[in-house]
Point group: C2
DNA sequence: CATGTAATTCCATTATCGCGGAAATATGGA
DNA sequence: TCCATATTTCCGCGATAATGGAATTACATG
């Protein structure tokens, strides 16, 4: 039993293969990627990938949609935001100085890569 | 073997008891908490807690220091920042719109609780 | 040095996870 | 309907994680 949804999300991401799949989908954006394409890029057998996609799905981090005979997976950005919010939720209580750096982390994560947000 | 440090951090946090200990330490700030005090608050036997503190330490999320006969654990904010930065690293590539909400998440995480940062 | 407290390490048991072969389900096209 | 493609489900094996009792190390005090 998983009482905290955050724990399920963290557990889903605490796996090298799943983490790289999730990052792949985050980069892919709203268009998403078909399971087969993910398997090809990741170089893993389709059944193992399927199990891991299922774990990410049940954690709410990604969403499947059928399109023809493919199943397209997309990152669920709301869920990702929720997880990040949960992680920073308590930081200000003990040490307010962490919040400012966290804000810069978010902007640096975008600016440093010369991306437009 | 754990090639990505982020995976070790995520695995360390993907456990209800460890996650609550980490959040406790994040709230506690630079002063930290003694292992015994953590065990008391969490209501877990000291040996189980010790194992979990060790996992969090090896992931770099917390740091121990001896003080008299107690061992005081503190959250490692740099490591936490690193993990969050890693998680948001790719988000702008596929969907730039996620970055703005992330910034608000960080500020909401502070403002909503009427905290001062 | 003896004692009590704080915390860890050792160890065995049980539970869960990760993996991949083989079979099954779903879809689209000839 | 028959076939090929896409993906999932089923199943078993080996590895890893979680747990807590008991013993051990570290420190402070008298």
């Amino acid at each position: 039993m998983e009482s905290l949804p955050a724990v399920a999300s963290l557990a889903a991401l605490a796996h090298e293969g799943r983490l790289s799949v999730f990052r792949m989908l985050v980069q892919a954006g709203a268009g998403g990627l078909a399971a087969g394409e993910i398997a090809r890029r990741a170089g893993v057998p389709p059944n193992s990938l399927s199990a891991n996609l299922n774990i990410l799905s049940r954690a709410g981090l990604i969403r499947p949609r059928r399109e023809g005979r493919s199943i397209i997976y997309t990152a669920d950005y709301d869920s990702m935001r929720g997880l990040l919010a949960f992680l920073v939720e308590d930081c200000c209580g003990g040490s307010p100085e962490i919040c400012a750096p966290l804000a810069t982390v978010v902007s640096q994560g975008c600016d440093a890569e010369a991306r437009r947000c």
